[in-house]
């Protein structure tokens, strides 16, 4: 068990800046998820912790000791690769015990530890098989077994579930969480899937182009995104955005002109005159109404036409065309909504995110 710390970490591949000024403190036992679109430097960061990649600049500490120059085998980490990297010519048992045998542990101890790990992961019946004779989920378990049997200070996972089908991925996600509860080892987990990140993480690190955009608990990054990128990356379906311009602002009332010259008034004074604003609203905060009720207090009303309906069981995704572009709502399925219907989208003012168009920063923070 250990804490992990990054100080001004940089990684360049020639001219490509894969990781830029990465700073983070990971507490002992924490489950940290690095998430971001493909190519944003997640794997590179993980591989620098593992010692598989040289560090261009900066420091990494495990358990408060600097490990920049420490050989991978002496860092006391275990890594699970996206393609599992099981040794094809070795049995499951030998795959799991391969690292222990390198440490020249007594035979009995190796045996016991392998048994223990295979019990934890339900691999008992598979120990004599070769990786080629395993299903995707079983391979994934073996890869996990190889990691936990070493009882390392830190687990590193690089998209370990992305080769599984959706159902299995869900199941393994839950097992992953359970396992972490059981062993409590500090875990750094890389994924491009924000749902995985939200469900697994104690804290999420959202990256883009090698830079950390935000660090926070799942709740924080969902409720208080630092900027437009984080807001659009977290949550499915993604947040809706539409533009506005500040027409006038007084102490307690700001008037903002939308694209179709409609004006809305907000009771806040965080704006400057003529500032370009981007509003964000999550699909789950849009209510789709058929009847033309009178205007509700502190809310915006948008006329729209339903273009697509995506039923998902107890919820339905409603995609609408409006003067502000495409807006997506998520509603309960009891609605009798049909495609091509005219509807009113009602948005509570308090649910609206407000970003500066220039800096893309969240103005409400």
């Amino acid at each position: 068990m250990a804490n992990v710390q990054f100080e001004n970490l940089f990684k360049n591949y020639g001219d490509v800046k894969a990781v830029e000024d990465f700073n983070l403190k990971i507490a002992d036992g924490e489950f940290i998820v690095l998430v971001g679109p493909s190519g944003c430097g997640k794997s590179t960061t993980l591989r620098m912790i593992a010692g598989l990649e040289d560090i261009t600049a900066g420091n990494i500490y495990i358990d408060d000791s600097l490990i920049n120059k420490v050989h991978p085998k002496d860092r006391d980490i275990a890594m699970v690769f996206q393609n599992y990297a099981l040794y094809p010519h070795l049995s499951v048992k030998d795959n799991i015990s391969f690292g222990l045998r390198a440490q020249k542990l007594p035979k009995m101890e190796v045996e016991n530890r392998v048994l223990e790990a295979s019990e934890t992961l339900g691999l008992q019946g598979l120990l004599s098989r070769r990786p080629g004779e395993l299903s995707g989920g079983q391979k994934q378990r073996v890869a996990m077994g190889r990691a936990i049997v070493r009882n390392p200070k830190v687990f590193l996972f690089d998209e370990p579930l992305s080769n599984l089908d959706a159902k299995l991925r869900h199941k393994m996600r839950a097992e992953m969480k359970k396992l972490h509860k059981q062993v409590g080892t500090t875990t750094i987990y890389v994924t491009h899937d924000q749902i995985e990140a939200m469900t697994l993480a104690d804290r999420i690190v959202i990256m883009k182009d090698g830079v950390i955009e935000q660090v926070g608990t799942p709740n924080e990054v969902y409720k208080k995104p630092n900027n437009i990128f984080v807001a659009s990356f977290i949550g499915t379906p993604a947040m809706n955005f539409f533009e506005g311009k500040v027409k006038s602002c007084s102490k307690s009332l700001t008037t903002i002109t939308l694209k179709d010259q409609k004006e809305i008034k907000l009771t806040s004074n965080i704006f400057e005159k003529d500032q370009d604003i981007i509003f964000g609203i999550r699909p789950e905060d849009i209510s789709v109404n058929l009847d033309k009720k009178g205007k509700m207090k502190d809310s915006i009303e948008i006329d729209a036409v339903i273009s697509v309906i995506e039923p998902m069981g107890h919820e339905t995704i409603v995609i609408c065309d409006s003067n502000y572009g495409e807006l997506t709502g998520k509603v309960e399925s009891s609605h009798t909504l049909k495609e091509n219907m005219n509807v009113k989208l009602i948005i509570k003012e308090e649910k609206i995110y407000q970003f500066d168009k220039m800096s893309e920063k969240n103005l409400l923070l």
Partner: protein, 282 residues
Amino acid sequence: MSSNVHMIERLEKINPKKVIIWTLLFIGSIIMVTPIIFMVSMSFKTGQEVYIFSLFPEKATFDNYLFVLKESKFLYWGLNSLWVATFSTLSVLFFDSLVGYTLAKYNFRGREIVFIAILSTLMIPTEMLIIPWYMMSREFGWIDTYWGIAFPGLMTGFGTFLMRQFFMSLPDELIEAARIDGWSEFAIWWKIAMPLVIPALSALAIFHFLGNWTAFLWPLIITNDPDMYTIPVGLASFNGENETNWEIVMTASCLATIPTLFVFIILQKYIIKGIMLAGLKG
């Protein structure tokens, strides 16, 4: 009933393209096999009968075999050949794959230059190297020694190239996983990389062993003592100045083929068995 279905399926499968391919292959194999059949046939003929064109000897005899095995030095030569070819093949398997692995999986300055230099040795014909090899051997006293016969083939550019290509297709993650698991670089090569390229190693072993087994020019030059001859050199020594006893040459050739058959039979199953990437991906 079911056999009828099979018949119909078979008939449907016959198409002109296949007929042509099969015909060509058949002709090809006849051309390849005929000399071998005559070799075997002649080894059972008597001296007088050798020049009669017939597939089956009128009176089959084992005398040739007795002569080759008992009266000539064939068994010496066979052991010489076996020893040199085996030693040389093991050496090539070890060093070529070690160098090939290094070129494929490590990034170091000058890697490309080293690779191109090794590759360019493929373009130099053996005949050109024989004089420097010979002078070197004379200097070091390697004439009429096993080492002298074997040393030019202990590492080959071709084998290095072949092994590099195979190692390049090994996923880096396997090596990285083993590195994290705590094994030394040499152990990773030996325990992880090598077992996964067994098909390539088998192919290389067959090529190299056969090449060595049939090598003629260099062993002829480096050996003077008939006790040190390899089989091809020994076979050539059956050619007298005035006449050649073809039945003896053919008999010795038949015997010389047997070990190569064994090598091929033992190793070919590893070539076919591709376990390469079975452990990766879901």
